[in-house]
Structures are given as structure tokens and as C-alpha cells.
Symmetry: C2
Subunit: 247 residues, 2 copies
């Protein structure tokens, strides 16, 4: 048995999210089907760095699997790509030690979120959030400063699904304007469910002067009164990278 | 009856091409359905600047329709977009004189073709040709010079479907490298069926040193012996713009 770390990308448009669910089309489901075909028909578990929601994309996602048949890194890459549909692509495969874990050993993750500020673009409708309005980017950048660092992000994440530990550290967060696109980038030691999409939603409110810098502080410490949770749609979100403590 | 010139864009991925065909999903079919709903249920013909093949995209396509009901340009734009699926988008509507014709009065058209030279990209699989190999761009640019200007393009277009007049003038043609993408741009007074895709296919052969500059001249004048017609796939092709003689 050899453990392989697999670096892959996907277009989430046609999937009910990353996590395997019976009867649904999922990224994990497709990868486990491919692994089974390669691993002599044996059910083979695939563990990733974490889930992504339905319609969310990944430029660089990572996961690991234990395989019994002898296969080189490069051959496993090619075999996986030959079994996988064309919207999931294995970029790299690396043999790792048996105590490596693609979820528990994550050091940091980067998510990117893309807004189209100009007119609706039919060709990019599944790949950016078609916001199509002007935003005050200066205000958004000022508000973003309060989100950087170590905070309890329970008020900037989903209510439905709560982790025990809701403290995360955002090492870096920035907003870049490229032509008519606004690109948000967040690097953190981890993210809660809907965290990036809710932060983007809140920042959009700030950019429209519906919320201000002080409101962000209140939202974080739970003293903000009012409904601020607008979850930005999934199609603009990309898991851009994952870094590990050691490989 | 008022004639409207309609500027629209589309993602061709889900269509059997532009031209209406019974029982098939086509761009023209969708637009005529929308026009019928707006024009009091009356069958309404939509004429465009020309067809595009299945899976080919358009950033700026133009067409015209005659509508009986009184409607402003802006209202027609909004009404069309409310009836059309999300992969076809009307960008602008303009009232034109009744002798305007969106096909016969074309002055020039621009097509763009995009190659991804680096590794396969799952997210862009429907929007670029995943060529994923190195090309000698210098050689391609030299070959491209021979394609510019006025020529009989019958040997650089489809055999199946021949127009009577196969002479076209390419006013401008260039190859631009942006990061890992190679972007071809062609501006001409018109294009024959498969013309851009065959020119790109031939230029790719040049970039791989399978054809040379002299072969291009021979292909154009019909003296080249051998099979050179590789039609580049449709997903990399975009109708980028159309200019009219007068509006």
C-alpha cells in the first residue's frame, strides 16, 4: 500500500459540490470511481484538503488515496485523467509517507473570488459573479483590514453547520482590480462553511455604502443588529491553492 | 414595422451552431422564439451577419429583425434578455432604416482564436483549444504574412460547402502571446466556412515545423501536394466583432 498525494483542478459547474453523496454527481464520487478502476476494482477512499460547495471551482485542490497496485506517480496521473471526466483534471501526483494527511496537515489555503463589474458576460456566467454595478473599492479595502488576522469567524460563516472551533487566522486578504473584474484573495489557516462567500457578500454591502467599516467590527464581535448575511453566489469562487506543513 | 439592429453575445457550448435547424438547439432558434413572444406571437425572422459553427462563441454578433409592436430600443433589449437563456445576451439594440441588412452590409468581421499552450485547464475546456505543446511563434508569424491580403481562400476553407465567390481580403491578422495563451486575430471583409479554423490549423503545423512558409503559398495557389487541412476545434473560436458600411 502506497499513499499518493494528488493535486487536481475542477470546474464545479456540473457538480453538487465536492463531497460524495449518494445519487448525486460529486467531485469526490468521480475521483473514487476512477481510483477504484485503477486499484483493481477495490473501493478506494479519497480524502481531500476540504470540501467545496456546489458550483465552486478549484484551480488547485489536494487529496490523498492509498493504492495497492504498484504504479508510478506519472502513470497514476495519466490513468486518473483517462478515467476522469474532462471537467476534473489531475495536475500532479506525488508519493507521500503513510502518516501524511491531506486534511489534517493543511498549513494554509487560498481562495479567490471574482466579480464582473461591467455588463453581464454570457460566456463567463459560470465562472464569475456577474455583479454589474459600481463599487467603492477604497471603502471595501478599508473594511477588509478588520477581517485580516485571528478572529472568531462564527458570525461570518454559515449558521446551519457549525464547527466546534470557529477561530481562524486570515494571513492575507486583498482586493485587486483588473480591467472590469474585482478579484478578492484570502489566505488563511482554514475557512468555515460559506466564510469566503459571506465575507465577499459583506464587502459588497460596504462597497455600496450599505454597511461601513465599524459595522464589520460589530459583525465580527456579534454586536451588529440587523441582517447582513448575503452569501455571494458560488460561481465566482475558486479554491486557488493549499499549502502543507510538510510533505 | 420597425427594423432593429441587435448586438448580442453567446456561449456556443450548448448549441448546434448559430443557424436554425428543425429539432436542434440553435442560437437563431432561441432568438426567434424570444422575438415571437415580444412580437405578439407572430413568427419573426432574425437575420444575422452570418453563421457560426457548433460550439463557436461570439463576443459581438449582430442581426436584425422587423417588429410590429411599438417598443423602445432599451425595452426591446430588456425584453429579449428576459426571454433568452443565460448563455445568449443582448448587449445593445438600435433602430435602423428598413433598407439596412445585417448580412449584406457587413464591412468587416473580426474572429479571434485562443490556444492554451500550457497544461490542460479543466475550467477553460469549452473556451480555448487545449493545445498544450510548444510552438515556434516566429515561424507562424512569418507564414501569417502570406495569408494577409486578397486571395482565393478556397484551399483554406471547407470542401463541402462552397460559395461562388471564394475571394476574400484579410485586412489584418496577428498572433499575440499572453502568458500561456496564443491569441490569433483575423479581420477580413468576410470569411468562408471553416476558414479561420483551417488557417489556425495550418499555422499550428507551421509552428511545429510540419509545414513551412513556402508551403503556405503553395496551399493558397493550389499547388501543395499532401494533406494539410486540419480544422482547429470550434471551442477556441470567437466572432469578436462586426463592422457595417453604414448604419
Amino acid at each position: 500500500m502506497v499513499r499518493y498525494l494528488i493535486n487536481f483542478s475542477y470546474d464545479g459547474s456540473n457538480y453538487n459540490g465536492y463531497q460524495k453523496q449518494k445519487g448525486l454527481n460529486t467531485i469526490q464520487g468521480k475521483i473514487e470511481e476512477a481510483l477504484k478502476s485503477i486499484n483493481n476494482g477495490k473501493e478506494t477512499k479519497f480524502s481531500s484538503s476540504g470540501r467545496t460547495d456546489a458550483f465552486v471551482h478549484a484551480n488547485n485542490q489536494y487529496g490523498h488515496a492509498d493504492i495497492d497496485v504498484k504504479i508510478t506517480e506519472d502513470k497514476l496521473k495519466r490513468a486518473l485523467n483517462s478515467f476522469l471526466p474532462d471537467d476534473i483534471y489531475v495536475k500532479n501526483v506525488k508519493i507521500v509517507s503513510n502518516d501524511f494527511h491531506s486534511r489534517y496537515m493543511v498549513k494554509e489555503k487560498e481562495y479567490v473570488y471574482i466579480l464582473n463589474l461591467s455588463e453581464y458576460n454570457a460566456i463567463q456566467r459560470k465562472y464569475v459573479y456577474q455583479f454589474c454595478k459600481k463599487l467603492n473599492i477604497r471603502k471595501m479595502r478599508k473594511a477588509l483590514k478588520h477581517i485580516r488576522g485571528t478572529h472568531d469567524f462564527s458570525n461570518l460563516s454559515s449558521n446551519e453547520y457549525k464547527e466546534k472551533n470557529t477561530i481562524r487566522t486570515i494571513y492575507n486578504a486583498k482586493i485587486t482590480k483588473k480591467k472590469n473584474y474585482l478579484i478578492f484573495s484570502f489566505i488563511a489557516n482554514g475557512f468555515l462553511k460559506y466564510m469566503v462567500r459571506i465575507i465577499v457578500g459583506v464587502l459588497i454591502e460596504v462597497g455600496q455604502s450599505k454597511l461601513n467599516e465599524k459595522d464589520i467590527k460589530k459583525i465580527l464581535d456579534g454586536t451588529y443588529k440587523g441582517n447582513y448575511k448575503k452569501v455571494a453566489p458560488p460561481e465566482g469562487l475558486y479554491l486557488n491553492n493549499v499549502k502543507y506543513k510538510k510533505i
